[in-house]
């Protein structure tokens, strides 16, 4: 049996080589570029120079926090209602939630743009009833709206996954023992759904804070986020050194934030993501 176990281990060898070549080496290259000048000499100027973009970092994190919070507030009652509806109905509703996730997010974001424009559909409708036009596109509000729209299903699904696991008899017991709805929610549903909350927050926050498509489509050139800066430095300015320094800092901040959040919960991170 020992021999078999050793042979089985070998099947992971191709992946380990792949992982080293395409996960570890590329990350090492980010670190290398972040700490070198164009001629290859070491420097910490790239990292220090990021100070001038503190505002962009601050903006990105604020907008991402805001959209994550809005997603959580919208998704929590939705996931709860979903988990408490009849099994057959649950299936249909679940398909309806996953369906938009399968559609190109670029086209969805573009669709929002055509809705929010000054001469867009919302303003056209408002004009018919004698209101507006309201300026909505190219504002931070539009960017947050886009983030909430694109990532809401990623908050609903993990919440729903933990909520269907909550034993119904626990809720009945709480009810029998005299807890009101509010108390049941705070003392039972909320603590038991914590792993779902944490993975939902991760799945909305990370793509929000690093997005560059949403800010470009809905924020015009007015709202600049970290993602825009990274893209600009790599693609437009061909400066991988500054771009790598920005990516490195972004990655470290995100990993620290997630590390802090995961101390609230001991379940394995990956298990909740699918």
């Amino acid at each position: 049996m020992i021999g078999l176990r050793n042979k089985t281990k070998l099947t992971s060898a191709p992946y380990i080589v792949w992982m080293a070549a395409f996960i570890i080496v590329p990350l090492a290259m980010i670190i290398f570029f972040a700490f070198t000048r164009e001629d290859g000499t070491p420097t910490i100027d790239n990292i220090i120079g990021i100070g001038r973009w503190l505002r962009v970092f601050w903006n990105s994190f604020c907008l991402a926090f805001l959209s994550t919070a809005i997603c959580l507030v919208i998704a929590y009652p939705m996931a709860y209602a979903l988990s408490r509806s009849k099994v057959k109905k649950q299936r249909t509703l679940l398909v309806l939630i996953t369906l938009p996730m399968w559609m190109s997010f670029l086209l969805k974001t573009y669709a929002l743009m055509t809705l929010l424009e000054d001469t867009g559909i919302i303003n056209n409708l408002l004009r018919m009833i004698g209101l507006g036009p309201y300026h909505m596109i190219n504002t931070s509000g539009a960017v947050v709206f886009g983030m909430v729209y694109d990532f809401l299903p990623f908050m609903i699904l993990p919440l729903y996954t933990v909520m269907i696991k909550i034993d119904h008899s626990l809720l009945e017991a709480a009810d029998d023992l005299g807890a009101n709805n509010r108390k049941t929610l705070m003392k039972i549903v909320l603590p038991l759904s914590l792993p779902g909350i944490i993975s939902g927050i991760t799945m909305v926050f990370v793509p929000s804070v690093s997005s560059f498509v949403i800010s470009r489509f809905l924020g015009g050139s007015k709202i600049e986020l970290i993602g825009d800066l990274i893209e600009y430095n790599f693609i437009q300015k061909h400066n991988p050194h500054i771009g790598s320094a920005l990516s490195l800092i972004l990655m470290i901040v995100i990993l620290i934030l997630m590390g802090i959040m995961n101390t609230f919960d001991d379940e394995e991170i990956g298990e909740m993501l699918i």
């Binding site: 992971s12 980010i30 309806l96 969805k108 573009y110």
Partner: protein, 273 residues
Amino acid sequence: MTRTKKTYTFLVFAFLYAPIVVFIFYSFNQSKSRSNFTGFSLRWYIELMQNDRIISALQNTLVVAVLSALAATLLGTAASLGITALKKAPRALIMNITYLPILNPEIVTGISLMLLFVAAGTFLGISLGFWSVLIAHITFNIPYVILNVMPKIRQTDKNIIDAAMDLGCSAPQAFFKVMLPEITPGIASGALMAFTLSFDNFVISYFTLGSDGFTTLPVNIYTSTRRGLSLEYNALFAILFVTVLIFLILMGIADNKAASKNPNSAKQIRLRN
């Protein structure tokens, strides 16, 4: 469901679907306006069929999605089997590295691979294109396959493998006849997830496809937005929407059939998940 619950659910769905419905509605517009509906026509569907740029981008995307899903499923399934057999410390190390592409922002994964491919490309004298996109997609797909397959392996009773081998199965036989059927649902959902993630991926393709003309559909959409998207893309979106909808309905029917054929197994699956 109470009335408030119903209204709330309805409002959330209205929010999720209103832009999609409007977008699809305008694919039938006679003129090229995105906010002024002048009359019904199939003009944009016909133009879409004749647009070689979009069709070839769609073909590229499908080729990359199928190949990367296949490769990731093979590598990922083999990896899951091997990783489960490892001791605790190396297993934890490998799993933590495996989570990195999932936890990292896509843009960081994208530019890190771009740095590697540009360096390797310069060294080998080749420019980025199909190969770099394919490798990048396989790389971010593998972790999702592992996360789908690994739990199934852990749920499989090790004794049945031993039993099979005691009864005279060779190791490969034991794997193909006993282990594989047990973990097939995990492999299938991993492969499906890999395909869809690859099909819709924009950020990582954008940074790894270089400038030799190779493009995928999402990148084609992004570069086209600079001049304003034509309504052909609305038509494309409508076709994709209907395709996905039909696929999901078929999956639902298959699920229900499996459940009614064997109610016990369905219940078990639900409990396990």
